[in-house]
Every structure is written in structure tokens, then in C-alpha cells.
Subunit: 327 residues, 2 copies
């Protein structure tokens, strides 16, 4: 597929602006290194800990960057999105900070705990049937009735520019990198990452990783058009979605390669990060570490950045078992 | 109980020396802060993340500091200790780094996974019956037969000076603190902490926290002599032991107060740290955060440091359940 350059209207300037715009609001998350990880990986790995971002995921960057670019009037009318996960929480927090009403359309199949988290930040939850049609109808109705602005979880240039700031910081913090490795879900994070990295360091590889069972980005790059993800059964719940049009335009032009991770590889990588690095990451983040541990990236002796996208995991089974044993 | 000052032969000088001595070997662990934690606690909390220390616990500081002070000949004859947990791993790593043979006397009731970790660093494991007499006999035999030097987990001035370096770093990293809060097990960490903190900032409170079910330090301070801990049933497995003589001499002189934490308070604090701060800490560390979250420290509006002593937790139940569900 040939891509008209005008398909991608954001670049270094928009990322730099987002970095400045987010300064008072988002955390500059730390970059972790580990001798144990480097020894296992055979290369120097720099982990950008977006699990330590506000709401526990990089999603706050994009949601906040988009909301900050609405004028007072638009903010007053509120914003709406659809999400069963981290973007909903991120927009809910952004709205509470900027006093903008937030409505999140949530499939009625979503866990109650996630709905509760969004409500905790003051968002209005609107349940819908778990279908694309029902979701789009619900969003359209909120837009029509309240004049709310849709802030899409990933198919939005302001959101993408916000997500780009994580990789921008990583380059500042880690120094020159031979590759930046990033998970692929709807494509907001990887497209922002690719824009940031290629603007500053064109020779640095940008490598996406997705679950084998949700390899729609890999298939889409082969066919040249967006291949639907279907409803893949993967533990990496943040990566089940199909690519957005805008992210796909960026990925087609700027991403060097897509790798995949098996379900057991994802679980092994998550366990490694929890057990050895003592950090809580969600499976959708661990996916980037799986091919590194399996030496499938081809970076032996080199310097690799990896974005750990979030750390929101349901810990109830673990702590309920502890309580049952000890209380 | 009146304590002769000569009871405590280490002070600022020994701590400074240990800081320098450990520089090439131990991590300067990060200090974490969290708006969410501060809001819940009503004060500014600075978490010294010793869960990110080598072997996942502060214990590496003391073991390495003690081993570094043995001459070549003594190192060549090896060292011995008794431990079913973090100190054994710490000494095993220290020995592997300095090419000193390490023997760890381990009660045969200790989990196989902990023995495997020590063996992984090259230590020799010597099993004994889980009684004090059997343990002491086994250690004495290794000392007699191989000429090994005992490096006690906590009742050793060089070990205590090593543990003191965590609080020393914390004061450098966090700036002035109104209190430093630290768990109490055998007393190595709290006594080192008290020496470091009172040397630099006498007005800073040093507060120990132990499980309600293992409140031997509290009872010992009341009676004026070391009260045995018994075999308390607490989830905080690192804090079940009785105080050592040397730590008790320091605690009696320099520690301002002992607080306790209930089992449910410990589990709630651990869950808070995992879920909101995205860090894996063991229950013996979470114990210091319990009274902070419960507003029982009396530090509202002040600045409190807390040492998260380690992060070694058996994650098998959690990841085995994930694997069973997804693979």
C-alpha cells in the first residue's frame, strides 16, 4: 500500500509540543535496567516504566494531550470515548483534572472493577452491548445529545502525539538506542513511538510485538490493508483490538518489523519481570520482553529500549488467597 | 536497662566506611514517591526500595560488608551462616562475587525454592532439624571442620553497619525526614538504620514496626531484656525471629518507638503497594506501610521515610493459575 505523506500530519513538532504540554500533568516515568535481564537477553535493555505512569498506563499521555487541546467551550460540553480498560481510566482522570465531564461507553461484559475505577475519577459510565455497532451508536448518541467531543483511544492524532512522548523521554533517558520495542494493540503507542524515534534517530529500529493469537498488525502489513483482529483469545487483553486507520498509516511507513509472542512466552516474561525486577506489569506489556528473553530480536550486544505499557492487573486472586490463608 | 556505650562499637564512621566499601557492589536503590500514597497517608512518604537491591533484599548490604572485611585467608576458608531466606541468598551471592566458599545451614522445613536460589549462587546447603540446638550444632561443626567464619544474619556489627547504608542513602536521596520507619525482625536493619539516622539527624524519629503476632521487640523494650519471639504465625516470614543481643543494645538506646501491624493491615498494605505503586514487596516490607495508611504514626503533614526491605515472594500460585487459564 502506498501512503501519501499527508496521511500523517504530525511529526517532531507535535511531539515536542506534547512533551511541553504534558509536563505539569504526566510523570516522567523512570527507565529501569537490570543486570539479570541483560545477562538473559544478551544485550543492554532499557525498560521505560509506563506502568508507573498516572492511572498505571501510558494511556494518560494521549488522553491528556488530546483533552488539553480542546478549548474551554468544548471541554465544558464534555468528552466521550469507548473503552473497557486503561484509556477509559486515563480520560476519566484527565477530565477530572481539567473539570471536563467524561462519558465512557463500556461493553456490559467489562469487569465491574474497571467500571468502578472510571467512576472513581468521576466519569459517567454508559453500558452497551459488546458489539461494534452498539458501541458506535452509543458514542454517536452522546455526541449528538450533549455536543461531546469523541476522544478515540488510538485513532486520533492528538492521542498519538501524546503517546509519542514516552519514547521521546526514553531517548533522553537511555541515550542512543539500536532499537525501540513496543506492543501493538490499536496502534496508538507504536505509531507515536515510531514518529518520535524516527524523527530523532532514523537508524534506530522500531519493532512492534503482538501476541501470536492477535497478529493482525503482522497480517495487515503483509496484505497492505487493515486486517481485523477478530476476537482473539489472548491473555494480553490490551492487544486484542484491530489497528486504527491513522496508526496503520504510520506503522506502514515507519515501523521496521513486527514480532509475535506466544501465550507461554508472555506469561514467562511477565513472571520474570515480577519475580526478578520486582515490578507489576500487565501481560500486554510483558509481550515486548518475551522475544528479548527468547533472543528473537537479533540485538545481541546492542542497546534496546522497551516500553512497558502498563501495570493494571487484577490482583484479587493472589491477595484473596493470602487473606484466606492468614486471616 | 542501662546500656554501656561500649556496647555499641560502631557509629557514623563505620557506616560511612560501609557506604564506600559497598559502592562497587550494591545498588543505590531508588526512592519512590506516590501522590496516591501521600493522599491516603496524609503525609509525604519516601519509600526506599530495597526490594530492588541485589537478591531482592537489603540483606545483600550486610552480608557483602561483612565478607569484604575478611582477609584473603579467611575468605579462602569460607563463611557459614544459618538462614532459610534472604540472608542466605545474600551471602551466597557475596561469596560468589568474592570467590569465597559459602555454606548455609537451612532448616529442612524451608521451601525447596529458597534452597534452589542459594544453590544457584554456588552455596553449599546443609540441612538441619528446625530447632535452635540443631542449627547451632551444624554451624559449629562447619566452623570447626573447615575453619569457616560465621556471618550471622543480624547479630554482627559488620552486618549491622552494612544494613545502615540503606538509611544513609535514603537521607541523601529524600532530604530531611521527620521519621524513618523500618521493619523489626532480628534487628539488623533497624539497629543499622538507627545508628545512621541518629548520627546525621538526631531529631528524626526512628520507628520500628513488627507484626502484632510477633511483637517481641515491643515486649523486650518494656521488660528491658530480650523476650523470645516464639514461633509466631505471621505472614511476615522475615519478622518471626527474636532480637539479637547487639541489635537489642542499639534499639534500646536509639529507637524512639515500636508500632505493630495486624495481619490484615499487612496484607492491605502489600496489596496497596502492588496495585497502586506497581511494585512487588514481601509482607515483611509491607508491614511498615500498614500503620502509615492507618494514620497511626502521627506524622500528618510531615515527611516520613520508610524502608521496603525486600521483594522475595513466591509468585507460583499466581502465575500457575494464569498458565492454567490461558495455555
Amino acid at each position: 500500500m502506498s501512503i501519501d505523506p499527508t496521511d500523517v500530519p504530525i511529526g517532531e513538532r507535535e511531539v515536542r509540543d506534547a512533551v511541553e504540554r504534558l509536563k505539569p500533568w504526566a510523570h516522567v516515568t523512570p527507565v529501569m535496567t537490570s543486570r539479570t535481564l541483560d545477562a538473559r537477553a544478551g544485550c543492554s535493555v532499557f525498560l521505560k516504566c509506563e506502568n508507573l505512569q498516572r492511572v498505571g498506563a501510558f494511556k494518560f499521555r494521549g488522553a491528556m494531550n488530546a483533552l488539553l487541546q480542546l478549548d474551554e467551550k468544548a471541554r465544558g460540553k464534555g468528552v466521550v470515548t469507548h473503552s473497557s480498560g486503561n484509556h477509559g481510566q486515563a480520560l476519566a482522570l484527565a477530565g477530572s483534572l481539567l473539570k471536563a465531564p467524561v462519558t465512557v461507553v463500556v461493553p456490559n461484559s467489562a469487569p465491574a472493577i474497571k467500571q468502578a475505577a472510571m467512576k472513581g475519577y468521576g466519569a459517567t459510565i454508559r453500558l452497551c452491548e459488546p458489539t461494534l455497532a452498539a458501541r458506535e451508536a452509543a458514542v454517536a448518541e452522546v455526541v449528538a445529545s450533549a455536543g461531546s467531543t469523541l476522544i478515540h483511544p488510538f485513532d486520533d492524532w492528538n492521542v498519538i502525539a501524546g503517546q509519542a512522548t514516552a519514547a521521546w523521554e526514553l531517548l533522553d533517558q537511555a541515550g542512543p538506542l539500536d532499537a525501540v520495542i513496543v506492543p501493538v494493540g490499536g496502534g496508538g503507542l507504536i505509531s507515536g513511538t515510531a514518529i518520535a524515534v524516527k524523527a530523532r534517530s532514523p537508524e534506530t529500529l522500531v519493532i512492534g510485538v503482538e501476541p501470536e493469537r492477535a497478529d493482525d498488525a503482522r497480517r495487515s502489513l503483509i496484505s497492505g490493508e487493515i486486517e481485523p483482529s477478530g476476537d482473539p483469545r489472548t491473555i494480553a487483553d490490551g492487544l486484542r483490538t484491530s489497528l486504527g486507520k491513522r496508526p496503520f498509516a504510520v506503522i506502514s511507513r515507519l515501523v521496521d518489523r513486527i514480532e509475535t509472542a506466544s501465550e507461554s512466552g508472555i506469561i514467562d516474561a511477565a513472571r520474570f519481570l515480577w519475580e526478578r525486577l520486582k515490578i507489576v506489569v500487565e501481560p500486554s506489556s510483558a509481550v515486548v520482553v518475551a522475544p528479548i528473553l527468547e533472543h528473537r530480536i537479533g540485538l545481541e550486544g546492542r542497546r534496546a529500549g522497551a516500553i512497558l505499557s502498563g501495570g493494571n492487573v487484577d490482583l484479587s486472586p493472589f491477595f484473596d488467597a493470602l487473606a484466606a490463608k492468614w486471616l
